[in-house]
């Protein structure tokens, strides 16, 4: 067994971990990254990127199917077909390109990457069981970035026809009848994609509506579109398991025949298998507790990303990783972000940054708010995407923006403006007085600000 030393050790090569490692390398720290599986983590391999690839393919296929019946645009086409195996191969190509890119970025930052399972021996020593045999690494500072994994339902253990999002991204063919358990953003994104790919989709949600973490104004256009795609949404419904003949049993309802059951009821932190329990770190529920520098209760150990809890978003983990690397290099840093935008890549897309009107009011703010409908936006109409709106939420006394939300086709890209406006501490007047190019959906942001101020121009 060989021994190594380093200044900064990162456990987990997802977006949080690899960013932390690259930044630490840039800052001249002798850095080691340990990844048990594939660089890029959930996000690149079995999450954000592959799901967006699948969603894109589903959108394109659905468009072609739409043209097969003729269209208002005057386009008509033959009946399309899809070879999902080929789609998956194309997706794997993108994933490969990106994970390969991460590898070379790490190399360029002079980070030593190891593939293997890391296991804490003590607060400064980690043993790696890798391809090249076991290895002990002694590090001055360690960053835990082990991420999260899909939650399994005891009644519906993964295996066979019961799959998680991971398997859903690599199916050989669209299931004939797909049952999705959980109408959160993963279930809705994948459910809608498979509906577009031709599956008969049923979504089973225990709460009384889809996407319960977003307010109903934002989710209404998505529910409407899901209905139009023929998705059967069962709310206030609980899956109980599979019957003997393989149908999905739902409490108080008829069993649902389904050849594939996708369980997307949330994600849990990955803390087992790497000896974190030996360190007796403070927890926050199932998650590792961290302070505003992402330090755990052990001073030399940081934790970032999904293992530290909600919001489980790659861009949050990346920002944390960058900060932690800089702290490890001795720079003064503290988590002071005002906004972490969140996006549902449903159809239409939902984007939310900062506080919703309800959350702002609950936080004790007196607010002003208004939305600008995309039906009054020229660009949206030219894209046959008139459904949705952009909404601004601001403090009543000084018009400081508290939140920006939107729902509509392609509005995910507005998250950049939303985040910038909130992070810079913009007031409604700042957004209203910024020229937004015409004709773009971005104009709806300016108009939402204007409307909140009481003088929208185009409505």
């Amino acid at each position: 067994m060989s021994d190594q030393r380093c200044q900064f050790l990162v456990i987990g090569g997802g977006p949080g971990g690899y960013v932390a490692a690259i930044r630490a390398g840039q800052l001249g720290l002798d850095t080691v990254l340990v990844e048990k599986d594939a660089l890029g983590g959930t996000c690149l391999n079995i999450g954000c990127i592959p799901s967006k690839a699948l969603i894109h393919a589903a959108d394109e296929f659905e468009k072609a199917r739409h043209f097969a019946n003729g269209s208002a645009l005057g386009i008509s086409a033959g009946t399309p077909a899809i070879d999902l195996a080929k789609t998956v191969a194309w997706k794997d190509g993108i994933v490969g390109k990106l994970t390969g890119g991460v590898g070379s970025l790490l190399k360029r930052a002079k980070v030593r990457s190891l593939i293997g399972q890391a296991r804490f021996l003590d607060g400064r020593t980690v043993r790696v069981e890798g391809e090249d045999g076991p290895l002990t690494i002694r590090a001055e500072q360690i960053c835990i970035a082990t991420g999260s994994a899909p939650i399994e339902l005891p009644a519906l253990p993964f295996g066979g026809k019961i799959i998680s999002s991971t398997e859903a991204l690599s199916l050989a063919a669209p299931p004939e009848h797909l049952a999705v358990i959980g109408a959160g953003y993963i279930g809705m994104e994948l459910g809608m994609a498979y509906a577009k790919l031709g599956s008969q989709v049923t979504i089973v949600e225990a709460e009384d509506r889809i996407l319960p973490l977003y307010d109903q104004e934002l989710t209404r256009p998505v529910a409407k579109r899901a209905g139009a795609l023929g998705i059967d949404i069962r709310t206030d419904a609980r899956a109980r398991g599979l019957s003997d003949d393989g149908a999905l049993e739902i409490e108080g309802e008829e069993a649902l025949p389904a050849d594939t059951v996708l369980v997307t009821v949330g994600r849990r932190p990955v803390t087992e298998g790497c000896g974190i329990e030996n360190l007796v770190l403070d927890l926050d529920g199932p998650f590792l507790a961290i302070d505003d520098q992402c330090r755990t209760s052990m001073r030399t150990i940081f934790a970032i990303g999904d293992v530290t809890g909600e919001p489980m978003l790659a861009h949050r983990a990346m920002a944390q990783g960058e900060m932690v690397a800089e702290i490890a290099a001795g720079e003064p840093r503290r988590w002071d972000k005002r906004a972490i935008p969140a996006i549902c890549f449903t159809d239409p897309e939902i984007v939310s940054a900062g506080l919703s009107p309800d959350a702002a009011a609950a936080a004790g703010h007196e607010i002003v708010t208004a939305q600008f409908p995309l039906a009054a936006n020229g660009r949206a109409l030219t894209m046959e995407a008139a459904d949705g709106f952009v909404r601004a939420v601001a403090r009543k006394d000084n018009h400081l923006l508290l939140g920006l939300q939107a729902v509509g086709a392609g509005v995910a890209e507005l998250s950049a403006s939303f985040g910038l406006a909130l992070e810079m501490g913009a007031r409604l007047e700042d957004v209203a007085a910024t020229i937004h190019a015409h004709p773009t959906q971005g104009e709806a942001l300016q108009e939402a600000a204007l409307r909140t101020l009481g003088h929208a121009l185009h409505i």
């Binding site: 003064p332 002071d336 006394d397 000084n398 018009h399 501490g425 007047e429 003088h455």
Partner: protein
């Protein structure tokens, strides 16, 4: 009970409008007959509007700074007995009179509500629902950057700089919109040594407040006049010293011997008489230059404006026909005008028609001033402080009562040479005061 409407009265010849400069009462006040309700200002005169009878103020029309046409309703009162309008009769809204043509726009932003504006002025649609002051931290008076518990607002770059400089942004006042801390605020905080604002033991506290003062009334008139004078007239300022010893002796003698009904003589009447003599030789300085028309009007009348400081600013009452007045007449007229101006009761007549101006700060007069010509006049004579100074005479320094005259001329129509000759002539007259009074 009836309603009495007070309209803006006709103030004087050719005055079609006046600017409301002061409300002496508020809506709901009980007033007595003859009590002053408001003051309005025309070109130069301020006119008070008295209550015509006892009553209660129901409505005040224009806001301070509004220019109101003669005849428009400005006040409504509830009076005992019959009023002068039928109850409930709709009143025509007071029409804002057009701004006087040559006047530049008022300096104050039109949209800003006057600080004591009466209620009915509707807010322009585009005005934000809150005033700028509201954005100032409420606790500015006690020196805290923002209300307790409120997180500081700053861009990521500012936050980063503060973090690296070891500055706790909670202690830094923000001057940006919504109290945002900008780079300048950090600079200022660092420049003051980063002392915790308002912390115990720090005597001095940064005050980031900005008070908006609407420029109205006399101040606005002065601002416009000064801007016109300075932008249109290329000034040449000429300074010379005058030995006032002999004149001061004469003045002391005349004051000592004066009859009780005679006013105390100041220097100004002597200067006025000396100017009248000098102007007889150089009528070109007693003129009005209509620069738009390209015509100089040399006046036979020597009407001397004398700048006087009042509580509300500078006014210039005019002593008319100095060429026809004796020394005591000048003094008497001057005393009357000065008092009227100071009390704000100068009539329009008293304040207009000057052909040349004297400006004096009295004992504050300093050594040199650069007086601003009262457009369209072409000359202004500035009187500086009189002081005993050593003067070289023959073979020794002797103490003499010396005074400078700092005078400006419109260099478009008065050459430097003529300006110098004019002042030298006045100097000669003042230094040998008998010559002022000896008829040729």
């Amino acid at each position: 009970m009836g309603e009495h409407v007070i309209k803006l009265p006709d103030i004087g010849e050719g005055v079609a409008e006046a600017e409301l400069t002061e409300w002496e009462v508020a809506v709901g006040d009980e007033v007595r007959e003859d009590q002053v309700l408001a003051a309005v200002m025309t070109d130069k005169a301020t006119v008070e509007i008295p209550a015509p009878r006892d009553g209660k103020i129901l409505w005040l029309g224009p806001a301070i700074g509004d220019v109101v046409a003669v005849g428009s309703a400005i006040i409504r009162m509830e009076v005992a007995g019959e009023g002068n309008v039928a109850p409930g009769e709709a009143l025509p809204e007071p029409e804002p009179a057009p701004q006087p043509e040559p006047a530049p726009k008022p300096l104050a932003p039109e949209a800003a509500p006057a600080p004591v504006a009466p209620a009915p002025a509707p807010e322009p649609a585009l005005t934000p629902a809150f005033a700028e002051e509201d954005l100032r931290p409420a606790s500015a008076e006690i020196g805290l950057p923002r209300p307790p518990g409120e997180a500081p607002l700053a861009s990521p770059a500012v936050r980063r700089r503060a973090m690296e400089g070891g500055i706790d942004l909670r202690r830094v006042p923000g001057t940006g919109p919504a109290g945002r801390i900008v780079h300048d605020d950090l600079d200022a905080f660092i420049a003051t040594g980063g002392l915790p604002v308002g912390a115990p033991g720090t005597a001095k506290v940064r005050n980031t407040g900005v008070e908006e003062i609407r420029v109205v009334g006399l101040r606005r008139k002065i601002a416009e006049k000064m801007a016109t004078s300075k932008s249109r007239i290329p000034h040449i300022t000429y300074v010379d010293e005058v030995d006032m010893t002999a004149l001061e002796d004469l003045r002391a003698k005349l004051n000592a011997d004066r009859a009780t009904e005679q006013p105390k003589l100041t220097l100004i009447p002597f200067l006025m008489r000396a100017m009248a003599r000098a102007i007889a030789d150089q009528p070109e300085v007693n003129a009005l230059f209509d620069d738009d028309a390209g015509i100089i009007r040399q006046h036979g009348a020597i009407n001397i404006g004398v700048a006087a400081q009042t509580e509300k600013g500078l006014v210039v009452p005019v002593v008319r026909h100095v060429e026809a007045l004796g020394l005591w007449d000048c003094a008497r007229e001057l005393a009357r005008l000065a008092e009227a101006a100071r009390e704000g009761r100068a009539s329009r007549e008293d304040l207009t028609g000057a052909t040349i101006t004297i400006t004096s700060l009295g004992a504050l007069g300093g050594i040199v001033t650069t007086p601003v010509i009262n457009h369209p006049e072409v000359a202004i004579i500035g009187v500086n402080k009189l002081a005993v100074r050593p003067v070289w005479q023959e073979s020794a320094f002797v103490p003499r009562k010396m005074m400078n005259l700092s005078s400006s001329f419109d260099h478009r129509v008065i050459d430097g040479w003529n300006a110098a000759v004019f002042i030298q002539r006045i100097k000669d007259l003042l230094e040998a005061p008998a010559t002022i009074f000896i008829d040729e």
